[in-house]
Amino acid sequence: MTETAPVLVIACGAIARELVRIKDLNNWEHIEFQCLPAELHNTPDRIPLEVKAKIESQASRFKKVFVAYADCGTGGMLNKVIDEYGIERIPGAHCYEFYADSGDFRALAEEEVGSFYLTDFLVRHFDRLVIKGLGLDRRPQLKPVYFRNYKRMVYLAQTESEKLQAMARQQADFLGLDYIYRYYGDGPLSLLLKPQLTQEGT
């Protein structure tokens, strides 16, 4: 029989890289990640259903399950699912909040309500998730319909990659938005995960 890790983390594919880095940094050998597709963010009503299916099929193999999602546009429906199983998730409304730490994120949002946020993942997959996801490849004339109320793009960076910064700048230009760069690293997310995922806490 194969040995399984005692803790299952059901995670959004969009934060997988960061989770793996945090796991390695903390030597969390007791954790197994299982990711759901990042594309679910374009249809957030499906997130609770997919998380539930994963819990149903996998939870019995683990001592503890943790959900590495924020509310992520589910309007409380994800909470409803995890509450049913006594499982916890990352606090906050969405990944921008836990990447930036919630105080900073609130300040950014209050400073300019028309802020369009990017993370490393979104910069890397901008074409697939933003351009194709919004149908701008097929209907480029819809760009102003989607983006006319935005004033600036805020790149909340997890790494200090010059390549990603250059890409983000181009993406801001493409959308006709001002560009702001904020580097946070993995710190804010790591702080939120530690109480949940350190071995003593499991």
């Binding site: 546009g73 589910t74 309007g75 409380g76 409304a93 919004l134 097929r138 209907r139 319909v145 109320n149």
Partner: protein
């Protein structure tokens, strides 16, 4: 030129809208709305008007009926947001020709609705679709835009003697503001004077009920149905 798909052959010769009979033209306009062809929808609208159709008849039978098909297919997951937006801009092209005529007829609107996206939120695609569909259904629509404060909603429903207040939010962080607005209406003692409808991707029936709205509406076509239903009950 003829293209072949399987065993069937389809002509892709250009259709001359002006040569179609009325019912064929209306059917073609439904197809053009579905395909987001704004110029063709505007042309079809003008042809029907030139043939003596009333603006109301063109609106109801050609445009609203066509958008209803789009709405149903969106609800069923056959069409997606980009396609619906293209259809909406086609309907707008037709509406632009009808609006001046409709306003001249002086017909009383079915009702008046104030709509807006709540404070802290700038997403207006759904709200704009609602405004357009409600106008198509004969409502006067006062659109307050985005990032709307409670006091602005309340001033507008009072000033325009609205029957319905519609609030939209796309973010989990902004949807609770709908309750702030409803609570402010309660404090003023005017909550029960209005039908309050709420919508937006992260919302659901349970949330609508919890904040004291009259209904949560999952899409623009549902807003029209629910608005008519609740107005009939209220009168």
């Amino acid at each position: 030129m003829t293209e072949e798909y399987g065993n069937e052959k389809y002509d892709d010769e250009e259709i001359i809208l002006a040569e179609l009979l009325d019912d064929e033209l209306v059917e073609q306009m439904h197809d053009d709305l579905y395909d987001g062809l704004a110029e063709e929808v505007a042309e079809g609208t003008q042809i029907l008007l030139d043939r003596g159709w009333s603006a109301t008849k063109v609106l109801e039978e050609a445009l609203v009926a066509g958008m209803t098909i789009v709405g149903v297919d969106f609800r069923d997951g056959i069409l997606f947001v980009p396609e619906v937006l293209m259809s909406a801009s086609s309907m707008k092209a037709g509406m632009a020709l009808l609006k001046p005529i409709l306003s001249q007829t002086g017909a009383r609107p079915t009702g008046t609705m104030v709509v807006g996206t709540v404070k802290g939120d700038i997403h207006d695609i759904g709200k704009n679709l609602v405004g357009m569909m409600m106008e198509g259904a004969g409502f006067e629509v006062i659109d307050l835009g985005i990032n709307v404060e409670a006091a602005t909603y309340i001033d507008a429903i009072e000033e325009h003697k609205a029957n319905i207040l519609g609030m939209s939010a796309l973010l989990t962080t902004t949807m609770p503001y709908m309750k702030v607005v409803i609570d402010a209406m309660k404090e003023k003692g005017i909550r029960d004077d209005y039908i309050v409808l709420v919508g937006g991707a992260p919302l659901n029936d349970e949330f609508g009920e919890a904040i004291g709205a009259d209904a949560y509406c999952r899409d623009a076509a549902t807003v029209v149905e629910v608005a008519k239903e609740l107005l009939a009950l209220a009168s």
